[in-house]
Symmetry: C2
Subunit: 337 residues, 2 copies
């Protein structure tokens, strides 16, 4: 179902994707700026080059699916190279913000050959050396469809080439064991501000406050601290890339969080310190959030059943864009056929 | 080295301690208020009763070491029962705040037979059903020594009965595989406000903000969110017990955290959104905090070497209380002999 896949940027995400596709027997090759990482990947037998123009020329000849997997601050440059060297290839990406990427797509008139993506998986480590097979197993893989939605709203039929590209991106996600979750770029960025970028900001701030406690706090830190600060191990430049480019969505979410904590601070500092309201609401929210994460706990089958509702969709078929909107409203996943 | 151990309260911590001591062949029995948990423990062959007075009478006859393992809001009642039914037993505890417990100890004139404790380990689950062998392996086990410090500062010799009790509490921790970290109640409460209670508050607030993102946010939540919210799964009444009774130490720490985040919010909302300062300081703090947690990563020996500095101390020996103060300043651990 997939054409050859050309991955541009082989860090944690791009590298792990290359490993998965290769393990599944798909044709995959790619580009990486760092020559040392390129050599490391070549030694493992992967088709990797540090020459972007050459890699894109090959992709153009292959009619490959391009996966942009560089940090946000390098995306514009890569798009420019794509427009020059592989102007007819379908493009997807794995960048953790979607509106800023889509703005760059629009500015270059590439909407007709772009379907955005974002696998919700990672570790605190980065670079090819941290990449691993199976990283995306059971993860949500956000797949954007704004252009199709705009056309559909205007009563225009979505071109077959675009629905074919959408199918390819969903198939790519499925090959890694991930679940394709359709979402508009705006709703994506607001949701990940809550569940990914805010946790990164929190982790950095908590690490600092813990460290202010000196060697004793270091010595006493245990599971709750380690769990909440793990992602502060992420390369700061990657955290900046995510949070700064999504500032528009992140600031209101941070305000919501600060309001909650300020109220908690006040109810803790009175004569009868209380965090009843926070603790009870937080525990209820935790239970709700857990109900939708990955496989159901109560499943006794060796085949774990996803707890995300599923809808089977035929891209290009009647009403398919409206079906995507319905799934999005449920936070569900799509299976293409 | 240990007398019989009598554990009062068999939730996650008390229950896990009972399992560890029993597995090591120590004499251990206990009390639990909940009859269903008592029956469950009895079925597994543990000597557990729901009659507090009877249990304490047995402990008194045995000259057992009492371990108070009930939530903070039940400690006063248990101390009163101890004063009535087992007035000569040595007492320790595993409660997550130390000054409020010590205030209750002082109010009853029990300082001479009390050494506080707090194992820095747990899960988001509670009750006997969640208890497990090995929970404290490699964890820090805070051991308080304020009374000895006061006597020492006043030039008074610490009674042998108290240094013997200190030895027993360190031996108890060592039997579970934990590392005894000496600490005053005030410094303990300030440090755990940073590395345990703040993470709990954060987890609750983050769970709420994530949940406000609805089903889509639920669906996209991944590792960073799950890691940072895990402890919001804790029974809210236990979170309240910890945070509300440690409000005096927690509020200033929360203020420090809020100041950091408010500054970050402001630098993110400008024309050139930046979190450079937070991301870089956070990452450095993360690295420092990691340097002191548990076994060294680079160790190739199958016997993992603790990264906490160790000092061997003979309780009751010359200068031993000053040695504890030195270890405390390093966040180190003590081995008693």
């Amino acid at each position: 179902m997939l054409p050859p896949v050309c991955i541009l940027g082989l860090g944690l995400i791009g590298g792990s994707l290359m490993r998965d596709l290769s393990a599944r027997g798909e044709r995959v090759y790619g580009y990486n700026r760092s020559r040392s990482a390129t050599r490391a990947a070549q030694k493992e037998g992967f088709g990797v080059s540090s020459d972007l123009a050459e890699t894109l020329a090959r992709a153009s000849g292959d009619n490959a699916l391009l996966v942009v997997a560089v940090p946000m601050d390098a995306v514009a440059e890569v798009f420019d190279a794509v427009a020059e060297h592989a102007p007819h290839c379908g493009i997807t990406d794995v960048v953790s913000v979607k509106k800023p990427v889509y703005d760059l797509v629009r500015a270059r008139g590439l909407e007709g050959q772009y379907v955005g993506g974002h696998p919700m998986s990672g570790t605190e480590n980065s670079g090819w050396g941290a990449s691993q097979e199976g990283l995306f197993h059971r993860a949500a893989w956000a797949v954007t469809y704004d252009w199709a939605d705009e056309l559909d709203a205007a009563g225009t039929t979505v071109p077959e080439s675009w629905s074919e590209l959408f199918t390819q991106v969903c198939a790519l996600a499925a090959l890694t064991g991930a679940e394709a979750v359709p979402v508009s770029v705006g709703r994506h960025d607001e949701a990940v501000a809550r569940v990914s970028h805010l946790p990164h900001v929190i982790a950095e701030a908590l690490a600092i406050v813990g460290d202010h406690g000196g060697t004793l706090a270091q010595s006493l830190a245990a599971g709750s601290f380690k769990g909440a600060t793990r992602v502060a191990g992420t390369d700061p430049s990657l955290v900046r890339n995510m949070c700064e480019t999504n500032a528009e969505a992140l600031v209101p979410v941070l305000d919501e969080y600060l309001t909650l904590l300020t109220r908690t601070r006040d109810s803790l500092s009175g004569d009868n310190p209380s965090i009843q309201s926070l603790a009870e609401a937080g525990n209820r929210a935790y239970v709700r959030m857990g109900a939708r994460s990955g496989a159901r706990r109560e499943s006794v089958s060796p085949v774990k059943i996803s707890s995300r509702p599923v809808m089977r969709v035929h891209p290009g078929g009647p009403g398919w864009v409206k079906q995507l909107k319905q799934i999005e409203a449920l936070g569900g996943r799509v299976e293409v056929f």
